[in-house]
Symmetry: C2
Subunit: 715 residues, 2 copies
């Protein structure tokens, strides 16, 4: 009896101390959404009846699954179930086709899919986590843990799931010197200098976090690539990372510099039609696979922003991509070829150029090539209409490129939950095969019957302790994984899951945080680029406003190019009277955008140049609406700050204070965005502000003088 009491006491106590091992330190965000803090005491014993022991065969991936279950259940329930080879009451049984223990795995289960089922094995009530392969089991283990993390029951389970896309990849824009381009969370995770000898234990936690949301690939180096990544020493470094990620179902990829045959091979050309060039790449591919047997393939940025490419030799993107694809093909590798191109030689409308350059090549890309397309036609703006290439290349495998790092949405400081933006893009209707031809159905392969599918996210991860530079930016990493797993996901569901796992299962806390997150991106649109405006960011750092910038060398580098504000009005005419970019969309998709009077006002100035007194749906003239909308954005941030303040005491102090600080900065900077943009636009519109709204009286010249040489993530 005493012994039992002691054990019971110990278990309770253990749970408490595991959660707050050193209360003076507080939470630091390192654990992400895998915090595994103790669940409410009343629920523990019920959960425990179904996690007495973990029955599993051995493999690196099954070991990872079992270890994660032990970590998670140990943390949440205060008792770590042992591993066992014997099934017992309440066991969690990990099942694979190679070791099915009598469980009937559904025949249609995808290699990466899983089943979680409450059932009976050998006469014992158990929970089976069955995978189409070991990695399916790992994904199932994380899903099982999520049930407890989010306060759901583990009784009577019958869940089957599998990813809808093949490639679910993080693109790290990390340079070999540790700098992360557009990174706002410290330097690169990859210590290239000391790899392969020193393999940071953090890489394992990185892999765990990714596996928990099904991300199965990482491009390790910047798309603005150096050829050095392809040299033997760097391949060995990459191999050490690959080895750490492998048990978690992740492959590594590299950004390939197209001119590498010249820089590394001493060739005089990188012409994809030159046999010596093709031979060099074949030799290089063979070398890579001899060092990294499950290497994923190449990501390529070609003929864009100074990068070399097939265009240097008057070859098409398809010719370039296919040459690389051929080299990788024998090894099972693939090529992700970016469609992000624009040229100073055709400055009529940057939004049109990717389509013009890529669409004619439809059907010419090899079957292990995907064309990787940003969600919009410009560049990761707070809001863009969907990219006209989606659905316009039915014979080409198209994958999505989202930007998780907030290059244009306030870096790591501003709170902006990006999932609603991604959902908006994925649910946009291309009409390519009639109504309902969503972007999601283009990239999941169902619309055109493609085999190979994928989604890439430009990572927001650095070596900051909390990984992403702020606690709320973790949500964007999480949401990306969820959309890559299933492009039909709903941002609100994702936010709810994330908030429960990251902050609290307290319904009041969840009901406060989720709406705040859901409105946050729209607030950024309002105070930065409302009503269809885009790219008003200052030069170089992309942090603050610079709508006045008009003197840069190339037209499309200037914000003035994008807003085209003049005495008559504002906006970019992309109708027939202007650049006619609208013609790149399917007529049915373009139709609602043809007439400014009928255009969704969120896209108005993207497609139309309209007079300052254009009458908006609110009844206000455009100028007034612009002022009101900018002001609304500021108000929305103020409201977020106040909402968050109301959570004091319900969130651990360290993270509460950090979010508070960021919201304080965001509120000040939202005001700056509003004031600077409206001051500038008023100097052109020459119109008074609507009643009750004011500007601080700072001149455009004063705003223009502000420089930010120390802004993070430059270059």
């Amino acid at each position: 009896m005493l012994r039992r009491l002691l054990i019971a006491f110990c278990l309770l106590f253990c749970a408490t101390t595991a959660a707050h091992a050193d209360p003076l330190k507080g939470e630091d965000g390192y654990d992400l959404w895998l915090r595994y803090r103790p669940v409410e005491a009343a629920k523990i014993s019920d959960y425990k009846t179904r996690s007495s022991v973990i029955v599993t065969a051995k493999s690196p991936t099954l070991d990872a699954a079992a270890s994660e279950l032990q970590r998670g259940l140990g943390g949440m329930l205060g008792a770590t179930p042992p591993n066992s080879s014997t099934i017992a009451d309440g066991a969690i049984v990990l099942v694979t086709p190679a070791d099915n223990r009598g469980f009937a795995i559904p025949a249609d289960l995808d290699r990466e899919g899983f089943v979680i089922k409450s059932t009976t094995l050998d006469g014992h009530p158990v929970t089976v986590i069955a995978g189409g392969s070991d990695v399916g089991v790992l994904y199932g283990a994380f899903r099982y843990l999520k049930l407890i993390q989010t306060g759901q029951t583990t009784a009577g389970l019958d869940i089957q799931d599998a990813p809808k896309l093949d490639l679910r990849v993080l693109d790290h824009w990390d340079n070999l010197d540790g700098h992360v381009e557009r990174g706002y969370a410290g330097t690169s995770l990859w210590d290239w200098w000391r790899l392969p000898d020193l393999v940071d234990t953090r890489y394992t936690d990185y892999a765990r976090a990714n596996a928990s949301i099904g991300i199965n690939g990482a491009v390790l180096n910047n798309v603005n690539a150096k050829a050095d990544s392809l040299t033997e020493p760097y391949l060995k470094k990459a191999a050490a990372i690959a080895e750490t990620l492998r048990p978690y179902g992740m492959k590594i990829y590299l950004s390939a510099r197209f001119s590498a045959p010249m820089e590394l091979g001493g060739l005089k050309t990188a012409d994809p039609e030159d046999p010596a060039v093709a031979a060099w790449w074949q030799m290089k591919a063979n070398e890579i696979y001899s060092i990294i047997p499950d290497f994923g393939g190449f990501l390529v940025k070609a003929n864009s922003e100074g990068q070399p490419g097939p265009g240097d030799y008057k070859r098409t993107h398809a010719q370039g991509a296919n040459m690389l694809a051929k080299a990788l093909k024998p090894h099972g590798g693939i090529v992700m070829w970016r469609a992000f191109v624009y040229s100073e030689h055709d400055a009529t409308d940057r939004a049109k150029q990717a389509y013009l350059e890529f669409q004619p090549s439809d059907g010419q890309f090899a079957d292990n090539v995907l064309v990787q397309i940003k969600n919009g036609a410009i560049d990761f703006q707070p809001r863009e209409p969907f990219h006209p290439l989606f659905g316009a290349m039915p014979k080409t495998q198209q994958m999505m490129e989202f930007q998780i790092t907030k290059e244009y949405l306030g870096f790591a400081t501003h709170l902006a939950y990006l999932a609603p933006m991604w959902e908006e893009a994925l649910q946009a209707d291309t009409f390519a095969k009639g109504k309902g031809s969503t972007v999601a159905n283009v990239i999941d392969g169902t619309l055109d019957g493609h085999k190979l599918t994928g989604m890439a996210g430009v990572a927001n991860i650095g070596d900051d302790r909390n990984w992403t530079g702020s606690d709320f930016d973790q949500a964007n990493w999480y949401a990306f994984g969820r959309f890559a797993w299933n492009p039909e996901s709903k941002s609100a569901d994702i936010a709810t899951d994330w908030a429960r796992m990251t902050w609290s299962n307290d319904p009041k806390v969840v009901a406060t945080i989720v709406p705040m997150m859901m409105g946050s991106r729209e607030a950024v649109v309002h105070y930065m680029t409302p009503l269809g405006l885009a790219h008003l960011m200052d030069t170089g750092h992309h942090y603050g406003p610079g709508p006045w910038v008009s003197e840069l060398g190339r037209p499309e580098w200037n914000p003035a190019y994008y807003h085209k504000a003049d005495a008559n009005g504002i906006g970019f005419d992309r109708t027939k009277t202007g650049s006619n970019a609208l013609a790149q969309y399917h007529p049915a998709a373009a139709k609602p955008w043809l007439d400014p009077k009928k255009t969704d006002e969120r896209f108005l100035l993207w497609f139309h140049h309209v007079p300052w007194d254009f009458k908006m749906k609110s009844g206000r003239p455009l100028w007034d609406e612009l002022v009101v909308t900018y002001s609304q954005g500021v108000d929305e941030v103020s409201a977020m700050r106040k909402t968050w303040a109301g959570l004091e005491g319900q969130i651990d102090a360290a993270r509460f204070d950090a979010v508070t600080a960021n919201l304080t900065i965001q509120e000040r900077e939202a005001q700056w965005w509003r004031d600077a943009c409206l001051t500038y636009f008023q100097s052109i519109s020459k119109r008074p502000l609507p009643a009750g709204l004011t500007l601080p009286g700072t001149t455009v010249e004063d705003y223009r003088k502000r420089v930010f040489p120390y802004a993070p993530g430059r270059g």
Copy 2:
């Protein structure tokens, strides 16, 4: 009885879980030497009898002391003593002159000094920790904790101690964009972008670590300074850091750019004799103190490596320093003026230039100026003789500048415990006032009766989780603090304390680690720059060997300038027949170095150009000795690696593996240093290797071709 058992069980259990809250994560080095892991069970109850309760008044610093005692005792003994206002048996009583509780504080106790005494107060046996002020108590609290951390008794204590130097300062070479010049541990701790709103909780742990070793100041920005640090926004950011550090007895300082009156004030000159310039600095000093009331003062790098200074106006360093000192004086601030200068206009011997430029100004510096002098006359080499300025300016307050970051000793990768190097410099005899006029006695003010004293260390701290980029580099931060507290400290004692607190109190572990540390710097000397060689590092990154470099624009940028190897021999003649730098030393100090036959061979090639067949004390000719010594360095690293391997299982796995990885790299790179340097020197000496020693056959040209564009800490 049951209750007691439960409590006893809980306490034991608590201690265990606090140590290994999440065993899957392992130790990550974040806790530094303040790990506070449970002590051996047999000792706990004894320690506990003298830590029943903490009796203290309230103040930010006393709160920090009490909180640290609670954290430390809670971690080590498994029971956190409560705070109380009532003295009881076994209390720890914090005593200050303002609240002495009847304890007789020694009249001569320094403001920063402390007494720890086992005594009786109000009839209760207690331990008094008395300070000359609140911060003395804080230092005493850390000392008390160290007793337990290192396994000593807390009974019968009677300890009195106080720092021997006034200024004990870390110099952060941190740029405002987060890059750390010569930093090898990630980016800057200071998030200038989000300060002052976002104050990282890590700053508190930084302050705790510093206070634990008595460091009482931090220069926040790089000596290669931008004037922006002195603008109001950046002063407010610095103020937020100052506020966090203040309770821990730390002041902040800023590197001041001498031309700031032109860059910020719009003046046409920064001439220190121009009244408008002086007035600008006075105005700036007043502004700084209005924002940071206890601001420490300025660090200045003037007329060195492109930095502006009084020399631009034909003024002396004293004129420049005194002008700044005058502006700070009314507020109690001080100036640390660096003596690190060398000019391309006098290329005869870089080692002579600081002396030539500074010594004539002896007696001209204001009483709130210290001249900050590197330990040697060149630049933080693995070994240099002491700087000839020490002792040569008796009317000037001189402070020491050590480099904790290992710019020339293998960055964060190579294991090199620097304390023996510093002890060597501090114990060097200047003979300025006869035998025994050590550098330590110059800088502690006793030799010349100076009031203001100090020591600066160029920090090796970044935002890496383990702070310093490797676990063993933490020892150098720790040792710097100990030497700054007491320049007469012994490196072996420091290593022993550090190893016990950082790794283990197991005598076998300590007896293994300490000798390894003690020999580690000499190993680096052997495989990088033996026998008095210096500055053989490659250009830019200072990581690998580059003895062949001779083509750079300024003579003293080239390793060939330093080794002067030719067909006849090798070494820099600094006797009368050469640069006569020896004449800058006191004759008695110079005497043992005049004759190459009598010179300590560790300095031989520093002072002499000697023939390749010069007979060494070993009986070997110099060339053979050089080869043997380089090889010995490699062997010493191999031995370290093997020694460390023997600790497997006695050290937590995460840190064990990381050190193993670094030693693996170090062994390979020691070999590279040996092979590259000897291959090059052999191409000049044209001599065969001694029997049994070989080179890999790589050519000098091959070594020369190796480039390292991604080496850490460039610039």
